[in-house]
Symmetry: C2
Subunit: 298 residues, 2 copies
C-alpha cells in the first residue's frame, strides 16, 4: 500500500492495481490518469459523488469505480431534517437576538403538514424523504426516470415534472448526483417557480445551484431562504459576497461528517478490498455512464 | 362577553360565570379572585401549564379549571426535535463562522443512536419522546408515577429514578408541569449527574431549572450545553448575565407558538364553551391537586 499525493500520483498510478481516492473533490486523478497504459483496475472514492472521476479516459477504460454509498445516508438525512426545523423555527434569529440581549417573541412555521420536494432518488435522497415523512411532511421525490409505484413515496417523478412540482413545495432539497443533466438545475428559471415562502437546501454538489442566481433571488426576497452545504468553489473567497447574502446559510461541506466518519469510510473500503482480494464481486459499483450506483434508487 | 385587564378584573370576576385566561403567566387572577363570594364556576387558561391558577382560594373552591392541552403538543415536539438536531450539528457555530466569513469544517454528533430522557409524561412529553424515537433516539420517560407497561415507551420511570437515569442521557428534556415536586428539580445536584457531553432542554416552566446552577455548570463545562425556552423571569433583564452564558441558548417562550396558534387556542375554548352552554362535560378538566389533566399521561 502506497500513500500518494497529487504530484506523485502520475508516477504511481501505472504500478497500482487499486486506487483509493480520499480527497474526492480533487482533480488529481484526472490529471495523473495514465490513459491507455498500465493503470488501476479498480478505483474507490470515499464519497457518494463520483463526478470528479467521470473524465473520458477513465469512462472509456474497463477500470471499475466504486463509491461510499450508504455511509452518509443517515447523517445527511438528519442534517437536512435539522436544517428544515431550524429554518422553520428561525433559530438563527433567536441566536442573533440573544447576542443582542433581546427577547423577541415570534410565531414560527409548523413543519408537519408542509410539503417537501426531494430531488435525487438515490439512498441519500430517499433517506431524507423518509425522515421528513416521519416529521409529518408530505414528500415528493424526483429521480432520473418517473416510476408510478414506489413503495415509500407512492411515485417518483422525472426531472421534467419540476415546473409543476416546484410551485407546491415549502422545502426544495437537492440530493442529486452531479451529471450533465443536473448541473445548474437550480438557476433563475427554476428558482422563479418556487414559493416566496419556500426554502432551498443543497447537500448535493455545489454546481447544482447557480449561486449568483440564488443570491439574486434571496436579495429580492423571491424565496424565503436557502442553506448550501456545498458550493461551486470551496471554500469561497474570504471577500465573496456569498457570505452575506440575506437568508442564506453556508455550511462547510459537513452534512455527512459525523464523529467517526473517516473510520466508517475506511472500514467500507477495507470490506470491499477483502472482496477484491478474494475475487468476489465488489459492492457499490458505479455505472459510469449514469454517474452513480444503479439499483432501486434510479 | 367582557374583556378585562388586570386592574378591572377584581370588579368583574364576581359577575362572571366563565373566565378565559389569555395571559397565562399573569398573577392577576390570584390577586383579583373574589374568595368565597360570587365567582366564575369555570376558568379556562389558554396554556398547557396551570401553575398560576393553583392558589389556595381557587384550589379550595368548586370552580373548574380547564387548559389548552393538545394545542401545543406537536409544535413543541418539533421545536424540541429541532433543538436536538441544531445542537448536535452545531448550527450556531456554523452561523457564527459564516458571520466572520470563515469556512470551518467540523465533525458533528449523530442523533440516531443517542439517548434522551424526557421528564414529563403528559401529552407534550409523550409527543416529544415519540418524535425523537422516529429520529432513532432511545427515549426514557419520567412521570409522576412509575408504570411498568407503557405502550409507547416500554415503561415510565418515577422521578426518584433520576439519579440512575441522568448519567445515561445525551439529551435531558424537561416537559413537566410545574408543581411543588418539580420546582427547582434541575439544580447543581441533578446537573452534576449529567454527562459532560449532554445537553439540557427546558420547554416546561422557568422554575424547573435553577438557572444560576445551570450557568455555573455551563461555565465550568460540566455539561455541553442547554436550551431554555422558559425562564424564571421573562424577559430577563437586559443586563442579566444569563444572555452570555457559554453554550446556553435562550429563546423567548415560543416553542409552541406556530402561525395561527392564537386561533387554535380560541377555537379550543369556543368548542369547550359550546359544551358548557349545552350542559355537557368539559374537556381538559385539570385535577387541581395534581396540577394537570389526569389521564393516560400520568
Amino acid at each position: 500500500m502506497l500513500i500518494s499525493d497529487a504530484p506523485s500520483l502520475a508516477t504511481r498510478l501505472p504500478e497500482a492495481d487499486v486506487l483509493l481516492v480520499w480527497d474526492f473533490l480533487s482533480d488529481a486523478v484526472r490529471h495523473a490518469w495514465p490513459g491507455p497504459g498500465p493503470r488501476p483496475t479498480w478505483v474507490h472514492t470515499a464519497s457518494a459523488g463520483v463526478d470528479r472521476l467521470l473524465f473520458p479516459e477513465l469512462l472509456e477504460s474497463d477500470t471499475v469505480i466504486t463509491n461510499a454509498r450508504g455511509v452518509f445516508d443517515r447523517p445527511i438525512a438528519e442534517y437536512v431534517a435539522g436544517l428544515v426545523l431550524a429554518l422553520a423555527k428561525d433559530f438563527r434569529g433567536t441566536w442573533a437576538a440573544q447576542d443582542q440581549h433581546r427577547w423577541v417573541h415570534r410565531e414560527t412555521a409548523k413543519v408537519y403538514g408542509s410539503n417537501a420536494l426531494v430531488v435525487g432518488s438515490g439512498p441519500i435522497g430517499r433517506r431524507i424523504g423518509a425522515l421528513l415523512q416521519t416529521l409529518g411532511v408530505t414528500v415528493e421525490l424526483v429521480g432520473r426516470r418517473a416510476r408510478e409505484r414506489d413503495p415509500a413515496f407512492g411515485r417518483v417523478h422525472a426531472a421534467d415534472s419540476l415546473p409543476e412540482l416546484l410551485p407546491e413545495a415549502d422545502w426544495v432539497i437537492c440530493a442529486a448526483p452531479l451529471t450533465p443533466q443536473t448541473t445548474g438545475m437550480f438557476d433563475a428559471g427554476t428558482l422563479a417557480l418556487m414559493r416566496p415562502t419556500a426554502h432551498l437546501i443543497n447537500i448535493g454538489r455545489g454546481a447544482h445551484v447557480v449561486v449568483d442566481d440564488l443570491a439574486e433571488a434571496l436579495r429580492a426576497g423571491r424565496i424565503a431562504g436557502a442553506a448550501l452545504d456545498v458550493l461551486p468553489e470551496e471554500p469561497p473567497a474570504r471577500d465573496s459576497p456569498l457570505w452575506d447574502v440575506p437568508n442564506l446559510m453556508l455550511s462547510p461541506h459537513m452534512s455527512g461528517d459525523t464523529f467517526g466518519w473517516r473510520d466508517d469510510l475506511a472500514h467500507q473500503f477495507l470490506d470491499n478490498f477483502d472482496r477484491w482480494h478474494a475475487g468476489r464481486p465488489l459492492l457499490n459499483v458505479v455505472d459510469k455512464r449514469l454517474g452513480y450506483v444503479p439499483g432501486e434508487e434510479t
